[in-house]
């Protein structure tokens, strides 16, 4: 890559920002190019004997393994389910692959398995772990435990849910407070010594998505879970792929006071901090209130809010962009070049 004089992978290649994008588009993409991979969506849609299947994979390297509101086991199940449901599919089965560092306490491993089981029960809908693998490496060659999960789901008939369906006038809705996961992990690494009680928002969002779909009918256009890179990254990516401008109202974005306070103290922008249980919804304006009500009734959507609106593009010579309208009424354009580099938060 032209920006990397040292020819080595840096931590910033994994932060979900521009370097991650370049690693994918300049190195991985060209090597493995095909018409499904090139869509770069959270789940691949593959034709499957007349039906359509959604398929996704994700790796988890979070440190520490256990944190308020979750652990690596809960995270791997939720992350994979959430990636699947953004395509509008019904998740069916997951795989589970462990890379374990020699010396890991067997009780820690058991605790992670217990959490995986509990999270599958929490998600319901009969989602199962159906296959797996275990590798152990010498001490020092991995850090305690890494997990890879893949997931498969089936897309039922109905209106397509995809960023390409986003339309002018759509409302943009989110299911609650942003930035809690990233700040929770930072906080429990005790690098700052804040006495804050912030829990990760880690949650399986399949039931929320089901409620959204039921309330929306044909008015639901796109879904995306806002994980690494935060709400900003999702909005910027979807603005780019839908070629639409978005206006986002800062005072409408839900955020806990404690989380905002820590972000301000550390000079971090909560818009770019990771979430693990946040779904961004694009829906027709006329259905928005119904969707919002349905989301607020779901246990993972109590603080749902309409945070913005899709605007058309008037000047075709300019790229689509996301404009944040601040509390003072001033404007700023959100940019993907910016990222918060917080390694190993998921």
């Amino acid at each position: 890559m032209k920006d990397n004089k040292n020819n080595s992978i840096l931590l910033s290649h994994g932060d979900g920002g521009v370097k991650t994008g370049r690693l994918i588009s300049e190195i991985i993409g060209p090597a493995l190019k095909n018409n499904i991979l090139d869509r770069l969506e959270d789940s691949a849609i593959i034709p499957c004997r007349g039906a359509k299947a959604a398929f996704t994979t994700d790796s988890f390297v979070v440190s520490p393994l256990f944190f308020p509101g979750g652990d690596i086991g809960k995270l791997c199940v939720c992350g994979t389910i959430n990636d699947l449901v953004t395509s509008g599919c019904r998740p069916a089965a997951l795989s589970l692959s462990f890379i374990i560092e020699e010396g890991l306490d067997i009780n820690v491993f058991k605790k992670v398995l217990e959490s995986i089981k509990n999270t599958l029960e929490e998600a319901g809908e009969g989602i199962k772990i159906v296959t797996g693998d275990t590798k152990v490496v010498e001490k020092g060659n991995a850090d305690k435990l890494f997990i890879n999960t893949s997931g498969i789901g089936f897309i039922e008939d109905g209106p397509g849910i995809s960023p390409s369906n986003i339309k002018e006038g759509d409302n943009i809705i989110i299911n609650g407070n942003i930035a809690d996961h990233g700040i929770c992990i930072l906080n429990c690494r005790q690098e700052f010594g804040f006495k804050a009680d912030i829990k990760s928002d880690c949650a399986p969002l399949n039931s929320l998505v089901k409620d959204i779909k039921d309330a929306a009918g044909s008015g639901l256009h796109a879904l995306r879970d806002a994980t690494r890179g935060g709400l900003a990254r999702v909005l910027i990516e979807l603005s780019g792929s839908s070629k639409m401008n978005f206006d986002i109202y800062q005072d409408k974005i839900p955020i806990q006071r404690q989380t905002r306070g820590i972000c301000e103290f550390l000079g971090m922008d909560p818009l770019y901090i990771a979430n693990e249980g946040k779904m961004v919804v694009f829906a027709e304006e006329k259905n928005s209130i119904r969707i919002l009500d349905a989301m607020k009734k779901n246990r993972y959507g109590k603080h749902s809010a309409i945070i913005g609106r899709v605007k058309g593009i008037k000047d075709k010579n300019r790229n689509a962009s996301v404009t944040l309208i601040t509390e003072l009424g001033t404007k700023r354009v959100l940019d993907l070049h910016y990222s918060e580099q917080l390694p190993r938060i998921c």
Partner: protein, 362 residues
């Protein structure tokens, strides 16, 4: 918009209109000399609210930005020559040296750790007596007392594996140097809130009268910044130039005497090179003789590296407020936050980073 903000803005507009009408200025340049102000002004879009004839420019307020490339090169030389672990704040990692950066050296396997407090470095030194630990100390009066505390603690504990590489700088000397430069035409200073909390306002006495410039110590909320701009306009209107505190909840005229005296328990003034401003007499700090056993510059000597700024980089002119980031040909093209050419784009409080993040595309 909040009612208070609206009414301050109305008054700013009236005062400014009057001053322009009376030909006090065509454009009033107000410089902020604190990275947190730079970020706050950009983040809240303050420039979009105030009249176009008030030009907010950024000065040498970001410690990472004013650290000259030579210091980066020297610390890299130390890491290469000696088996030592360096602790530093995150922003220093990506500042480009002449041939490398701390981040690149870390990726090559050198022992460099990011810390959020200097005590992390001291604690690590204490629990790893077989390792040599260097704390790369950076910052103005706000952070210097913290370094002073850990040096004192290391002295009391008789640690022999803990060292400090000081790039600390003091702000008042830099403001004087800046105002003596005839290229720079500033009508008002937004004085730093955090630094002034330590130094007090008396450190700047003399500056307003000597240079005929309004000086207002500001907080960081948008209302407070606007109130401070308003105070600058009032001083110009009344020809009454003085140091005024608009951040009274935090800043007292006498500052924080305990923290301030801590600085001079441990350090003594030394000449220091600033990016863009060159050598400023007495604007740096080095450890006193009593503490020289902790001075990484003395314990780990390296030859003076041949340092040169990246060709075309105009960070120096940005730091002096002579140009805006948009005026630099590299800005947003070959120099971006993920691939920075100059320090002002690296630091989370750098002027170019602030312009790139908050003002691009508006």
């Amino acid at each position: 918009m909040k009612k208070q903000v609206e009414s301050i803005l109305e008054e700013i507009k009236d005062l400014n209109k009057n001053l322009v009408f009376k030909k006090k200025y065509k454009t009033l340049k107000i410089m902020e000399v604190c990275g947190t102000h730079t970020m706050a002004i950009a983040k809240h879009g303050i420039r979009q609210l105030i009249p176009a004839s008030i030009d907010l420019i950024s000065g040498p307020g970001c410690p990472v930005c004013v650290t000259p490339i030579r210091e980066i090169d020297k610390i890299i030389e130390i890491i290469k020559k000696y088996d030592a672990t360096v602790f530093t704040f995150g922003d220093m990692m990506r500042v480009p040296g002449t041939n490398s950066s701390l981040l690149a050296e870390k990726a090559r396997g050198k022992k460099i750790k990011i810390c959020y407090s200097p005590t992390d470095a001291l604690d690590f030194a204490e629990s790893n007596p077989d390792k040599k630990i260097i704390f790369l100390a950076i910052g103005f009066e706000t952070t210097i007392p913290l370094t002073a505390v850990i040096v004192k603690r290391a002295f009391e504990k008789k640690l022999n594996n803990f060292f400090v590489y000081s790039t600390h700088k003091t702000l008042p000397q830099a403001l004087n140097a800046l105002l003596s430069d005839s290229c720079i035409n500033i009508g008002g200073f937004l004085m730093p809130g955090h630094v002034s909390a330590i130094t007090g306002s008396s450190m700047y006495e003399g500056i307003p009268q000597k240079y005929g410039i309004a000086c207002v110590i500001s907080g960081f909320e948008p209302e407070n910044i606007l109130l401070s701009i308003h105070a600058i306009l009032r001083q110009i209107t009344g020809n009454d130039f003085r140091v005024e505190i608009m951040y009274k909840s935090v800043v007292r005229p006498e500052g924080n005497p305990v923290a301030f005296s801590l600085i001079f328990d441990v350090f003594e003034p030394a000449d220091s090179e600033w990016r863009g401003l060159g050598l400023i007499l007495g604007s740096g700090l080095e450890l006193k003789k009593k503490f020289e056993g902790f001075d990484a510059k003395k314990i780990f000597p390296v030859a003076n590296p041949v340092s040169c700024e990246p060709p075309g980089c105009r960070c120096g002119d940005v730091i002096k407020g002579i140009i805006k980031p948009f005026d630099c040909k590299k800005f947003g093209k070959s120099c971006t936050p993920e691939n920075p050419v100059g320090a002002c784009m690296v630091s989370s409080e750098g002027t170019c980073a602030a312009y790139f993040k908050y003002m691009a595309g508006i």
